[in-house]
């Protein structure tokens, strides 16, 4: 067992590292093969001259051959240095950390709520298969899943106008420092609409996956045996069926959690939530290579690490995996 697990962890870990390296390389070259350049935007000042353009190119190291830029990038990365943003002239690590700090709570709340609601409604639907609650729940899930995020967000914005804040993370017009709990409550109120939109657009897929996995499990012989033994329905569902229906959920949740770090761009734009998705979107338009590389690196690493974690959980849950 110990040999099997060490071998498995090493193998998956190696694959994860190789994937990260490939992603780092692709992140570097992808944005540089796009048409357009950072210098085009940054030299947009009155009376700019070709001399200024050249000076900026040299300053950003863009005059060096691509392979040399790549080596410098790798060397800096090895030292934990993601570079300095062309646009903001600030360290990328510092900028992205500030954005992540805003994104993670909102997207986590939305995603966790979606998982909880999705699992609950999925189990309910499967358990009451064919009943009106099943029909209502399944149709609602498909309906919510099919809504374009931007449309749903705007509708919620209009419906809750005057009741909930239209944008931002907290009451902006406070000169002093709010007491901690008041500030937390304030952020909570501002989070309702964006996290709620995220929950509504995401929970449907959980409902459908859980329902389908549960139906499969509920048809197994051991569930029939449990019923025959006269176990209470709640115990059959939560102790026997749900645990065995968890595998596809683990995959889905691991993938979704990876994207928490990437933020929810449309939601961040609609509700003016100053997160990392928005920062990436702006960086693409400005060809801010260090910001793009840093942002995509964080996104890639988090997806890969969470997939690695999913692999480990799979390994723990399913003894057949080697």
């Amino acid at each position: 067992m110990a040999v099997r697990s060490a071998d498995y962890v090493l193998k998956r870990g190696f694959f994860a590292l190789v994937t990260i390296f490939v992603a780092i390389t692709i992140n570097f070259f992808l944005f540089r093969v796009l048409p357009g350049s950072a210098v085009s935007d940054l030299s947009k000042v009155p009376h700019a001259s070709p001399k200024l353009r050249h000076a900026l190119t040299v300053e950003f190291g863009l005059d060096k051959p691509k392979w040399e830029q790549y080596l410098i990038y790798l060397k800096n990365l090895a030292h934990g240095n993601m570079g300095v943003s062309f646009v903001y002239q600030q360290p990328v690590t510092h900028l992205l950390f500030a954005d992540l700090k805003n994104t993670i709570p909102m997207v986590t709340v939305g995603t966790v709520a979606a998982i909880v609601v999705g699992v609950f409604t999925g189990v309910l639907s499967a358990w009451r298969r064919g009943s009106p609650p099943d029909h209502i729940s399944t149709n609602l899930a498909i309906f919510a899943y099919a809504f374009p995020t931007q449309w749903l967000g705007l509708m919620l914005l209009i419906i809750f106008a005057g009741i909930l804040p239209a944008g931002g993370m907290s009451n902006p017009f406070v000169f002093g420092t709010e007491p901690f709990w008041q500030h937390l409550g304030d952020i909570g109120v501002h989070m309702i609409l964006p996290a709620g939109t995220l929950m509504l657009t995401a929970y449907g897929s959980y409902t459908l996956v859980v329902r389908s996995a549960m139906l499969e499990t509920l048809g197994e012989d051991y569930v029939l045996t449990a019923r025959a033994k006269g176990l209470p329905p709640r115990r059959i569902v939560w102790r026997h069926a749900v645990r065995n229906a968890l595998l596809p959920m683990v995959t889905l949740i691991a993938l979704e959690l990876g994207f928490i770090v990437g933020g929810a761009l449309l939601i961040e734009v609609i509700f003016s939530w100053p997160g990392i998705g928005l920062a990436m979107y702006q960086a693409i338009g400005q060809r801010d290579y260090p910001m793009l590389q840093g942002g995509f690196l964080i996104l890639t690493v988090s997806v890969i690490v969470l997939n690695f974690a999913a692999d480990l959980v799979y390994f723990r849950l399913d003894p057949r995996i080697t």
């Binding site: 796009l34 048409p35 357009g36 350049s37 950072a38 085009s40 935007d41 940054l42 030299s43 947009k44 000042v45 009155p46 009376h47 700019a48 001259s49 070709p50 001399k51 200024l52 353009r53 000076a55 900026l56 300095v84 646009v87 903001y88 002239q89 600030q90 500030a98 705007l154 914005l157 209009i158 106008a161 005057g162 804040p165 239209a166 944008g167 931002g168 993370m169 907290s170 902006p172 017009f173 000169f175 961040e268 734009v269 609609i270 509700f271 003016s272 100053p274 928005l278 693409i284 338009g285 400005q286 060809r287």
Partner: protein
């Protein structure tokens, strides 16, 4: 195409420079205007206090003037830092930190007399030494860390402070737009910034200038959260008229929908830009909605490089350009795309610039029949599938659509032009690119490859910058047409050094006529600037079409609660 500073529409003063007598007259008139504008301190019957909450769909990208890009950053600098001069709502120069100024007879030396006994918000004296240090630093590092503002010190030789209230600036040659250049430069506190200007000056761009900022303007920036909020409180030590409000708050939004919802539900007191689609809604809700002509234009760019690829060299044909111009239904564009909030375009210097616009230039009347005749006259006969043939190939062109123009307005305008040109046998196909990629596509292969593009311009107040865009020296930096003409360049140089305002105006008119007849741009329209605020506030003058502006301190000095 937009400048790094997305300027609001404004218009210039009538004269950019003049004799001592003329300047003195302008200053006197300006003081009178200031006195009449109700912006003086003391209050009287004016209600004092309150926080004005303003929504913005833009943002502050940096609080460092050597790094900042966005217009909100520059409007912020205007209210927290001293500037030598500012504009009033009639777009004349009026005093700010400089109480008066004089120009030497040879036009190369400018002497500014500054406010005495002024202080920064940390209590340190605010003197001519700060101003001299600021300009000298801009000069010293203009090819490096301060290149962002290099245009503001063009042709400047030196800046010095013979005493605490006198600033002397000398130029290498007479410059036509000195006050316009200086109006764009915030004076920084030397005691805060000097240490960053040591050595190669690189630290000037890495200093974040965090809030609370040592300020010298009517407000102090006390709190700033990136992408969320900037909060300003009244500066009790300000050298000029004290604002009536206690503070000003600026909240940033990413969409107009959220911003307008916030205004309507009372979470904001005003918003700086209203899209035309929301005007009726806000008017019905009894908001004070104000429209004014914008210093902004939308244009169709026709490749004007005579060396362009032979496969579309017919685009140089003056008859073709004239045909395209009369085939643009400007009234339909304004009606459909701008919902009536705009004017038909005719010149690259918009009418909102007042006397710089040549009134002799009129928008060409829409006439498809004439457009067809002109193409016939050029020898472009109709081909078999409804497309004309030019030099052996069908008249079918790709139009580069940058992100600035794609979306609602741009797409609608493009479709109107596309449908009309199709009727006269010309096919247009859009190609959407982001701004950076669009500019690179236009300039690719020395402007030989692109055919047509559709973009916009937000010029500066003074016409110098907009006119510079078509010069040969602007290739690969600002020039988006491939136009290059020695005679045009000569006129450009001449207007930049024209001593007499009347002479300069004549040269500027001549250049506009040249552009209108050669048509590197077909100017489509001038969109209005629209802003709105709650009726519970009053006394908020527009300067250059907007109140939250980098042109003047007046609006937020004078705004106050109604009643």
């Amino acid at each position: 195409m937009r400048l790094r500073r997305n300027q609001p529409a404004t218009s210039p003063r009538a004269a950019s420079r003049g004799t001592r007598l003329a300047v003195a007259a302008v200053v006197t008139a300006a003081l009178a205007v200031t006195a009449c504008s109700g912006s003086s301190s003391g209050g009287g019957s004016v209600k004092q206090g309150g926080l004005f909450r303003l929504g913005s769909a833009s943002s502050i990208d940096s609080l460092n003037p050597f790094v900042a890009f966005q217009q909100d950053a520059y409007s912020t600098f205007e209210v927290i830092y001293p500037y030598l001069v500012q504009y009033n709502s009639k777009l004349q120069f009026i005093p700010d930190f400089a109480r008066s100024w004089q120009e030497s007879a040879d036009g190369r030396t400018w002497t500014f007399h500054l406010q005495p006994n002024a202080k920064w918000s940390d209590g340190k004296p605010l003197t001519a030494a700060d101003a001299a240090w600021t300009f000298s630093t801009l000069l010293k590092f203009q090819n490096g860390p301060t290149s962002n503002t290099a245009g503001d010190v063009a042709h400047m030789q030196s800046a010095s402070a013979p005493n605490a209230t006198t600033l002397v600036i000398t130029y290498k040659q007479p410059v036509a737009n000195v006050l316009s250049q200086l109006q764009q430069v915030p004076i920084l506190p030397e005691h805060i910034w000097a240490k960053y200007a040591a050595g190669n000056g690189k630290a000037l761009t890495t200093f974040t200038n965090p809030a609370p900022i040592v300020s010298g303007g009517p407000f102090i920036l006390v709190k700033y959260t990136p992408k969320q909020i900037a909060l300003f409180k009244r500066n009790p030590d300000f050298y000029g008229p004290k604002p009536h409000i206690d503070g000003l708050g600026l909240q940033f939004f990413q969409t107009y929908d959220a911003e307008i919802t916030a205004l309507k539900s009372g979470q904001l007191d005003g918003i700086e830009v209203v899209p035309p689609t929301s005007v009726a809604v806000l008017k019905n809700a009894h908001f004070d909605v104000r429209e004014s002509p914008g210093n902004y234009f939308d244009d169709f760019i026709i490749n004007s490089n005579p060396q362009q690829d032979a496969s579309h060299r017919e685009l140089m044909n003056p008859l073709l350009r004239q045909a395209f111009d009369v085939a643009v239904d400007r009234a339909a564009i304004i009606r459909t795309s701008l919902l009536g909030y705009g004017l038909a375009g005719s010149s690259i210097i918009p009418p909102a610039t007042g006397s710089w616009y040549d009134p002799a230039l009129k928008p060409p009347p829409f006439d498809l029949a004439k457009a067809g005749q002109l193409l016939d006259q050029a020898g472009f006969k109709m081909g078999p599938n409804g497309l004309r043939i030019a030099d052996g190939h069908p008249m079918s062109y790709t139009v580069i659509m940058p992100a600035d123009t794609s979306g609602g307005y741009g797409d609608r305008s493009f479709q109107i032009i596309q449908a009309d040109l199709r009727k006269i046998g010309v096919q247009l196909s859009p190609k959407n690119l982001d701004n950076s990629a669009a500019y690179d596509a236009i300039t690719a292969n020395h402007y030989r490859d692109f055919e047509i593009s559709m973009w916009d311009w937000q010029p500066l107040i003074d016409p110098d910058f907009m006119l510079s865009v078509l010069t040969c020296g602007s290739w690969n930096v600002w020039n988006d047409t491939g136009y290059c003409s020695k005679s045009y360049d000569k006129l450009y140089q001449a207007q930049g050094a024209a001593v007499s305002p009347a002479k300069r105006q004549q040269l500027v008119y001549q250049m506009q006529q040249m552009v209108a007849s050669q048509r590197p741009y077909l100017v489509l329209d001038y969109a209005d600037l629209i802003e709105a605020h709650s009726a519970s506030w009053t006394g908020l003058p527009l300067v250059g079409g907007t109140s939250w502006t980098e042109l003047s301190k007046l609006p937020f000095e004078s705004v106050h609660l109604a009643g």
